[in-house]
Structures are given as structure tokens and as C-alpha cells.
Amino acid sequence: MNLRDPLRDELAQHTIDDKPYWFRLDRRNFLKLFGGGLLVCLTDVPTWAQESGRTFGSHELPKDIAAWLSIAADGRVTVFTGKVEVGQNIRTSLAQQVAEELRVPFDSITMLMGDTDLTPWDMGTFGSRTTPTMGPQLRTMAAAARQMLVEMAARRWNADPATLTAADAKVTGSQTGQSLTYGELTRGEKLMKTVSTNVALTPATDWKIAGTAVPKVNGRDFVTGKHQFPSDIVRPDMMFGKVLRPEGFNATLISLDTTKAEKMPGVTVVHDGNFIAVAAANLSTAEHALSALHATWNVPTQPSNKDLFASFKQSSKTQPEDGGPEHVSGSVPQAMATAAIQLHRQYTVQYIAHAPLEPRAAVAEWANGKLTVWTGTQRPFGVRDELMAAFHIPVEQVRVIQPDMGSGYGGKHTGEAAIEAARLAKATGKPVKIVWTREEEFTWAYFRPAGLIEIGSGANRDGTLVAWEHHNYNSGPAAIATPYSVANQLSQFHPANSPLRQGSYRALAATANNFARESHMDEMAHAVEMDPLEFRMKNLIDPRLRAVFQAAADKFNWGQSKSTPQRGFGIAGGNDKGGYVATCVEIEINPADKKIGIRHVVQAWESGAIVNPDGLRNQVAGAIVQGIGGAMFESIQFANGRILNPHFAQYRVPRFSDAPQIEIVLIDRKDLPSAGAGESGIIGLAPAVGNAIFAATGIRLRNMPMASLDIAPKETASMFQSDHGTTQESLAYESA
């Protein structure tokens, strides 16, 4: 058995191989700008290669309390973490955990997040890792700080620490009744103590602040417009930048005429390597200058959606062996040969865009040779590395600050806007802001990988699965191994050549693998003539997954009503990254025009001890709504190095009218460590909908998105009918 390291998968998926820019290194200017003597040679090793080791390369996490939290003389607690808030609510949930362990009121805590000068190094905010890793890290530091405060009081009073208690930001002597606040004890001094990992943490059953529905900590600032997102940052004398984008991917510049733009007053034009951009005192002038640049490009012939899946299979053969099957037991061919019922099916998912409502944005400023960049990213330290490499500067000369941003969903691991703004700021000597347009975000960011998935399965007549084989081409290995108990099984991810720049997306390939697997489970359930839930339970041992299936089914009254041609019920589930999910959906089909509407979703969720049930519900419901897009209508259309639908008018995302009635059932396992919940809630919806469509119509939809693209222009919609061997009957999606 060769179980993958999920961290390695995540890192592999977020590594975007192509560098956005190579600036020509003008050595003389470089020395002039930064003074002689300090040439630090940066090797071009991708950071994840260092990070993929368990030691995180040179990045040892600090062990002293002072690196993680400080207590001011007035008792205010500041917590430092390199994790970033992107809407997943960790600014609140991490503060709850610190308040709990430190025994201070929640309101006394300020989270200082994602600032590379002030917070400990962090790999990035992805992979649902904040809750399982940063949570315990901060809890450990807070619990150690509490012990330290008790010891400080004991020394002052010459008392036995065991007779003192810490509560409500004070240490109190149980016999003497004397007490000192934390602020009085620290007097604002740093808490200098090295902490070992075995510090006793408060069990979830005793939680008073963690585990409760504390409202989002700075919620008020979002309704008043006070919160400054990365694109809202303003610096004195700031200029606005615009980047000239090539006419297509992999284009080469044939000619460039900048004379007209250079003559415009107050405009700076930069052409450095493959970077062509302008800056001006305001956005209008920058836009005019951009349109005054005359460039001609050579865009090579490139693949389109058509033939995509066949090409994945083809190109996977030329990829270096990726370690073989992920998960093997028994002999699939032998078991398959004797199975009473065998099924072989193909499933596909398209490229989709994250389309965070706030596009990439950055403000960059150079002062005394030091670069400071405010930007929206899930990896401030990763962006710092990118800036160091792009400008050949040492770590002390770059600071990246990440204000809580307009989300990312896995789509903001990179620092393009930061590099662009920094290059223009270097040329103008003033702070420069870059905010990508929606079209830029749809074109020059990166996409969730498309993928082809082939599943073969064999079962006995009594519904026992005996063989399972799962191959994923290009989309990724996340959640590729079946959670069902099958004696003979094999799962394998096959990397392939991607015509588009691709990277991580909420839940990675767990969405694609689970769509294929749970659709296939449904097909097999029908083949063995069993109820889909009963068939799953028959082949499922994992008690946590069983529990969510049961909880969702109970709430939904699964099996109480039979599907009709107008109304279908579907169920699906799965687990990844410590989150367990089961989803029941009810869809309605309009008999006249075959339009599908998702009416009702019940989703059961379990991810260990719940840190904040309100935030968790919000995440799980949001994942369902976002999942509707990929399931039903989101699909990037491309041809010859161009994106054909780079606007919300052409690329449909879920709206109010698409949101069904949603009920969330949370299972709180206080006996289990808390896992992250920002991602895996998205993996149940698509297969449950597909299964409901089948229940109603007898039509099996094996390609995501499942409904025809009723908004996309006609030509692009027809291109989507790719010839990858599976047929997709046309059903339209309608809003509820």
C-alpha cells in the first residue's frame, strides 16, 4: 500500500510552475538601488520542494511563546499567526481557542495575521490545515503562557503554584484570595519561554469559549465599509498600474511601440523582460496609457476544450511515472473476472475558475531599499519568496502584509499582482496599486484542473462490492481512494499535460474523484437493484462516514418518497482531510423544457470537535452553494490560448435564485481533534444532484457541469460536447 501524503498533494497542486515574470537583471541599477556588497544569491529551488519535507526546510516553527502571543500591561492579548483570513472565519475561531486556553475574555484578543515581518513563518492557508495544525499550535502556546503566568504569580507571592488558579485574565490564590491580572504580571514584557509540545490542553468537553457560536470578530467593519481589503489599501502619493497582457497564452512579442504612451504626461512605461506595464497618477490615465501601447504578438496554435480528455489520456503516457497506484489491495483483475456484475464508466470535470469576488490586488512601496507589499494571497510567505526571487533581494528587504481579503477558494496562492505592483513601484519611486480586472482574473489566474476519471467495479448479486479500480487523469489524487470496504482495489492518479495553467481549488480533486465515485456507486446500486443508501451502508465500515450518511438520511426522510419523472432524490457522501460529509438533494424537473431546479439540500457534516458552530454552518452552506456552480454550469471555454468566456455574463456562477433550501446537520465529536471545514463540504453536492437526476429521468449525467450552458454563447456551448466517449444528454438548469 502506498498512501499518499496529502500535504505533498496539496503542495504539488498549488505549485504553479511557470514564473509570471523574468525581469532582466540590470546589475548596475541593482547595485545602485540596494548599495554594493549585498548580493545574496537566491537559488531557484521551488519553495514547495523545501516545504514538502517534514522539517519545512529552514523554516523551524519558533518554540518560544513570545513569537506567538504577547500580553500587554493593560491585559490586551495579541496573537501572531501567518495564517490568513479569507472568509473562512479563522480570525474568530483561532482567537476563541486562544481565549479558551489562556483563560481570558474573547474580546481581549487581537489576531495579527499574515504579516511576514511580524508573524512566524507559515506555509500558507490551504488544505484545511488551519484548524488541525494552527489551532493546536496556538492552544499549546496559550496553555504554556497560562502556566507561566501562574508561576510568575507564585514567585511574587512565594506561594505554591498548585494553590493558584488562572481564570478571567487573572491569577488568584485560592487560599489567600489575592489576585493579579495578566497585565500586572507581564507588565507588557515578552513571555520568554521555550515550549515543548506536551502541554496539557483543555479538552473540548470543558470548552467554554471555543465550541460556541461567537459572532465574526470584526463583522461590523464589513457592513460599514470600514474594513480595508487588499484592493482598498491607499498609500500617500500612490499611483495606479496596468499591465499589458499578451493576446493569448504562450504568446511571443513581435513588436512593441510605446512612444505614444511615453509622451502622455505623468505616465511611466516599463518594458522589462516579458513585463510590459504602465503607471499613472490615476486609473483613467493608466487605462488610456495602456490602450496607447501598440504591441503585436504571435500566438501559437493551442488546444481547446474539444479533444481535451483524449489528450489527457494520451499525454499521461509520456509523463514520468508518478509512483504507481496509490492504494492497492488484492487483485482487481481476478475479482473482476468472477464478479456477477461489472461496470466500466468514464466521468469528466471541466476547468473552472475560482472567480473570487475581489480579484488579485496589490499595493507595493519601496522605502530605503525595503519593499512592502499589501496583497491578497493565501500564502504571504510564498509571495515574499516570489518577490525575493523576482527582485533578487534578501528576506530582510521584503515584507508582505495580507489584509483579510475578498476570498480565494484555493485560487490565490500566487503573487502575480504583488510582483507587478512592485516592479512599477520600483520604476516610479512611488507606491503603486494594481487591481486585476475581472477579465484578467478569469484569464491570467489559474484554474481548477479538468479531469477524466475512469472507474471499473465488480459486485456480487447480493450487493457486495468485490473489485474497484479508479483512474484519474490530470485532475488530481485528493480523496482518490474509496472509503468503502472493497477487498480488491486500485486507485491511481495519472498526471497529464494541461493546456491551461492549473492549481488548487477548494477541496482539490476530491470534488472530481467523489463525483465519479459516488455517481458510480449509484450506478452499481441500481445495477444490483438496491436502494442507494442501503447499498452504500452494506459496503461501508468507516463509522464516521456511516454516521453522516445516517444523519443526513434521517433529516431528509430518505426513502419516504419515491422519485417521479418530475422530482428526484439523490444521496452521496465522502470524506477528505478529516471532514465527513453526506448530502441528500431533491431536484425538480420541468416536464416541458426539461429544466432542472435544485430545491432542497440536507447536508450532514462531521469534522471532530466543533470550534464555532455558527462559522461552521456558514462554511458548509457556502460550500454547497459554491458547489452548485461546478456541478451544474461552470466551465471555462478556451481555444488557441484564449479564454472564450472571461466575464460573469458568459461564465455563470451561482446566484440568489440558484440557492436551494439548505439544512445542515452538524455532528459534534468532542472526543476527536478538530479538523478543517472550509473545503470538503463541497464534495457531496454534485454526485447527489446527478444521482437525483437519474432517479427522476433515468438519464445518467457523467460530466460536470451537468446542465447545458444555457448562458454561454452558442458556439462555446457546443464545443463543450467533447468527444471523450461518454454521452451527456442535454438538460438545462433552472434557478429555483
Binding site: F222, S407, I624, Q626, P654
Partner: protein
């Protein structure tokens, strides 16, 4: 460049900008009123919603010259004497946001809806707000927040 005196949140603000520059850009980039958001610049997301004489408008598609005579309300203008408007308060109470980037546009649209229709049905809310995108998928809570605000004893307009 032309000179304008804009009436924003009750204040008269002097600004010079090309007449065709979007109100969004003028508010954000020239007046530093960054509560109004850019989401698409194409009229498709409503993150940039402002109220012009109480009516919701996509500021990304509104040339500043077209807004010069109107009373412009941005999200910064809803709070009165440090008290949130009923819609703002309802969004906080329902936790009707995740990243919060869509929130100012949502709050302004809901404010306009409740002025027109003080007690909207769920269907009316969905229809009225369908142009407002929330990529975090917080729609059900936003609908609940609008319903909550519609039941608030205070007037929903925030004026």
C-alpha cells in the same frame, strides 16, 4: 478633466475627473471611499452598488457626470451617530457574510428594496437581489438578514 461637486453621504465633495470616469473609480480612487467595491466593472456583480437618490445603481457603469446632481449614498453613509442602520444590524445579527467583499453592495441593495417594499416575500428578495453576487455562497443568510431587517421596528432606510 472636469470639476464636480458630488453630494456623497450628505457632504459636498469637490473632485476633478474625466466626465466619463466611472463613479466607482471616483469614489474609490479619488475620494478614498473604498467601501464601494469593484467586482467586475461590467454590471454583473453589484459589488459596486451605491444609491442615487435612494435608487440602487451600479457605480461601475455610472459615469461620474451622470451622478453629479444626485444624492449619492455609499455604505459609509448608512451608519447614523455610530448606530448601524437596521439592514446593517441585521447582517451582523445573522452573520450574513463570509469574506464580506459583497457585503456593502448587498446592504445597499437591501436598503433600497426595503424602502420600496417594506415587507418583501422571500421570492421578492431573491428577485430583487439576483444581480448581486456572493461567491462565498452566503445567499440564504443574506435573505434571512433582509427578512430580519424588514421586521425591525426602526425604519429600514437608514436615513
Amino acid at each position: 478633466m472636469s470639476d464636480f461637486v458630488l453630494k456623497v453621504n450628505g457632504a459636498h465633495l469637490h473632485v476633478s475627473a474625466p466626465a466619463e470616469e466611472s463613479l466607482l473609480s471616483v469614489l474609490r480612487d479619488r475620494l478614498n471611499l473604498t467601501g464601494t467595491k469593484y467586482g467586475c466593472g461590467e454590471g454583473q456583480c453589484a459589488a459596486c452598488t451605491v444609491l442615487l437618490d435612494g435608487e440602487p445603481a451600479r457605480s461601475c457603469l455610472t459615469p461620474v457626470s451622470a451622478a453629479a446632481k444626485a444624492n449619492i449614498t455609499t455604505v459609509e453613509g448608512l451608519e447614523q451617530d455610530a448606530k448601524l442602520s437596521p439592514v446593517q444590524q441585521a447582517f451582523v445579527d445573522e452573520g450574513a457574510f463570509q469574506c464580506g467583499y459583497c457585503t456593502s453592495g448587498m446592504v445597499l441593495c437591501a436598503t433600497a428594496l426595503l424602502r420600496e417594499t417594506p415587507h418583501p416575500t422571500q421570492e421578492q428578495i431573491v428577485t430583487y437581489m439576483d444581480g448581486n453576487l456572493c461567491r462565498c455562497g452566503t445567499y440564504p443568510r443574506i435573505v434571512a438578514a433582509v427578512q430580519r431587517a424588514s421586521q425591525s421596528p426602526a425604519k429600514a432606510g437608514g436615513q
